[in-house]
């Protein structure tokens, strides 16, 4: 359970996630992708424990395989031929590129899942209420309605079962007809319930001028420091990218890894960036441990 990282100001954590996701897409380089992936895995382990990581792996492994396999099958560029598949060469370069892309994609997906854990809908609404209040509200309402309708779907289905219209029995046509009945009931219920919500919103003054929003978020000195660190490290990484350190040449032959001083600095900076939430968390834990 992450407390320290979730407690920082939404604007800061949003900036952090925006940059890390952009970097993960931008840097097509095994070292950067590896760092980003491990950072994302570590954070998602902190956020949701071993069970969360396990379900994440289950969700993203097929995607990883698809991308990793697709590239060497579609692309035959590269000089080092590993073997031939139906007269088409499968090259080491294409395999490496596929693996790198797949890892980067999974890293992005993991960062997104961490994002949705940290940036809860109240934070999202807070951030976008100034910029696009209606759209932010629309998205938040939809997210709230999904579990709501799921519960109602179960209620409708069991009520139908109770009056002898169990959608799981009968032949295909009968089942289909009963399922249609359930969706139809659900639609009516959702609409009627929605109208009540809308009237209730209106009664409480939705859209009336001079309404203020209340939020618990306060931008304090610690947030300022973290934001400065985030922007500083991001600046270093971006500079490195524009100097050509962020990408590795895959074709026609794999380029050797750059290990000059500057490259090492860049790897360290990116590592610090990717593990920033984890570091914040550990610092907080240590503080708690020793100040108890």
């Amino acid at each position: 359970m992450v407390r320290a990282f979730s407690a920082i100001h939404p604007a800061v954590s949003f900036t952090f996630f925006a940059f890390i996701i952009i970097f993960t897409i931008l840097f097509q380089h095994p070292v950067f992708v590896g760092i980003s992936l491990s950072g994302a895995l570590f954070l998602s382990w902190l956020l949701s424990g071993g069970q969360g990581v396990k379900s994440g792996v289950k969700l993203y492994f097929p995607m990883f395989l698809l991308i990793a396999l697709a590239n060497p099958l579609f692309n035959h560029r590269g000089k080092t031929v590993l073997f031939y598949l139906r007269d088409n060469p499968v090259t080491l370069e294409a395999v490496t590129y596929g693996l790198c892309m797949a890892a980067s994609l999974v890293a992005v997906a993991l960062w997104f899942s961490c994002y949705s854990k940290v940036m809860t809908s109240d934070k999202f609404l807070y951030l976008f209420a100034g910029f696009a209040p209606t759209v932010a509200l629309l998205i938040t309402m939809t997210l709230r309605m999904i579990p709501n309708l799921k519960v109602q779907l179960k209620a409708v289905a069991s009520a139908q079962q109770a009056i002898g219209l169990d959608a799981r029995t009968g032949n295909l046509v009968q089942r289909l007809r009963k399922s249609m009945r359930i969706t139809s009931i659900l639609l009516s219920w959702a609409m009627e319930d929605g109208m009540e919500t809308a009237d209730s919103m209106k009664a409480r003054g939705y859209g009336v001028k001079n309404r203020t929003t209340f939020s618990l978020f306060k931008f304090d000195a610690r947030d300022g420091v973290i934001l400065a660190v985030v922007l500083g490290l991001a600046g270093i990484c971006l500079t490195g990218y524009f100097l050509g350190y962020g990408v590795m040449r895959f074709y026609p032959v794999l380029a050797p890894l750059k290990i000059s001083g500057l490259a090492l600095c860049l790897y360290t900076a990116f590592g610090a960036y990717a593990f920033l939430p984890v570091l914040i968390e550990f610092r907080e834990n240590l503080k708690w441990h020793f100040c108890k």
Binding site: Y60, V135, A190, F242
Partner: protein, 274 residues
């Protein structure tokens, strides 16, 4: 039945256009509501309009700027560029909706339809590409117009990806489903609302959805991009696209009539006729 969704006076209806309606803090309005309110509102309105104009100009400039940066830095990584371009393309739709200051009822209707579309996608997730989402988006568009159709599709994509995995493909899916909704809305506005026309539209967009998403796949994950690789991607996705098209037709045939009837009833009951 009195129509509660309409503003009480015409004055109120023009006053709704306050950009930061949720955030504005004004204290001295009570004294003379008529003159001061309208004064503040016109000043705010112009402020909002200039801001929107700036955004609009920014959007127009942004696309070539992005392309130029990408060409200069150019290393064949178009994934991020494509995502940014797609986001820029969808922003105007949201801005328009934002500027219109929609009523609570409009919001709720779009949220309900988007929820149903997203739920349908999540429920049918185990069967690849077999989903009622497009069909529900099309039905929403036919019942409530192109704008509602676009928003239903776009929001359904975001919401369902919260369960199926958010990623850089989310803006692409928002664009695809949004456009399916927008097109369906335009189609029904043009007068063709029959189930047959909608089914044909659903079948075609089922393929179009897959074809646009293929572009994303190729741009982001295939390097170097060759005609052979493009052809391979399109050929290998054929059956998935076909499943998508077929499921859309199937769900339109099943849902269009009863759901449109219900939605029309709701429209009449709550006075939502435009």
């Amino acid at each position: 039945m009195s129509d509660e969704s309409e503003p009480l006076t015409p004055r109120a209806s023009t006053n709704i256009d306050v950009s930061a309606g949720l955030k504005s803090i004004d204290t001295n309005i009570k004294k003379n509501p008529h003159t001061q309110e309208s004064m503040i509102n016109t000043s705010r309105k112009t402020e909002t309009n200039t801001r929107l104009k700036l955004v609009r100009k920014g959007l127009v400039v942004l696309i070539p700027v992005l392309l130029i940066i990408s060409a200069l830095v150019g290393n064949g990584n178009y994934g991020l560029l494509s995502v940014l371009l797609i986001i820029v393309t969808t922003v105007p739709f949201f801005l328009r909706f934002e500027r219109r200051k929609p009523q609570a009822r409009e919001l709720v209707i779009i949220a309900v339809m988007a929820t149903l579309a997203a739920l349908g996608r999540v429920v049918f997730a185990p069967v690849p590409d077999f989903k009622p989402t497009s069909a529900i988006v099309i039905i929403a568009a036919v019942a409530f117009g192109p704008e509602a159709g676009f928003l239903t599709g776009a929001v359904a994509a975001v919401a369902s990806n919260l369960f199926l995995g958010q990623g850089p493909w989310t803006p692409w899916q928002m664009f695809c489903w949004g456009m399916i909704g927008f097109g369906a809305g335009m189609l029904s506005k043009g007068g063709s609302k029959s189930v047959l026309v909608l089914s044909i539209y659903g079948f075609l967009t089922g393929f179009a959805f897959g074809w646009v998403m293929n572009i994303w796949f190729i741009v982001a994950f295939v390097q170097p991009i060759t005609w052979a690789a493009v052809a391979a991607a399109y050929i290998s996705s054929f059956w998935l696209d076909f499943t998508n098209a077929l499921s859309t037709v199937l769900f339109i045939l099943l849902l269009a009539k009863p759901w449109l009837k219900k939605l029309n009833r709701i429209k009449v009951k709550y006075g939502l006729l435009e």
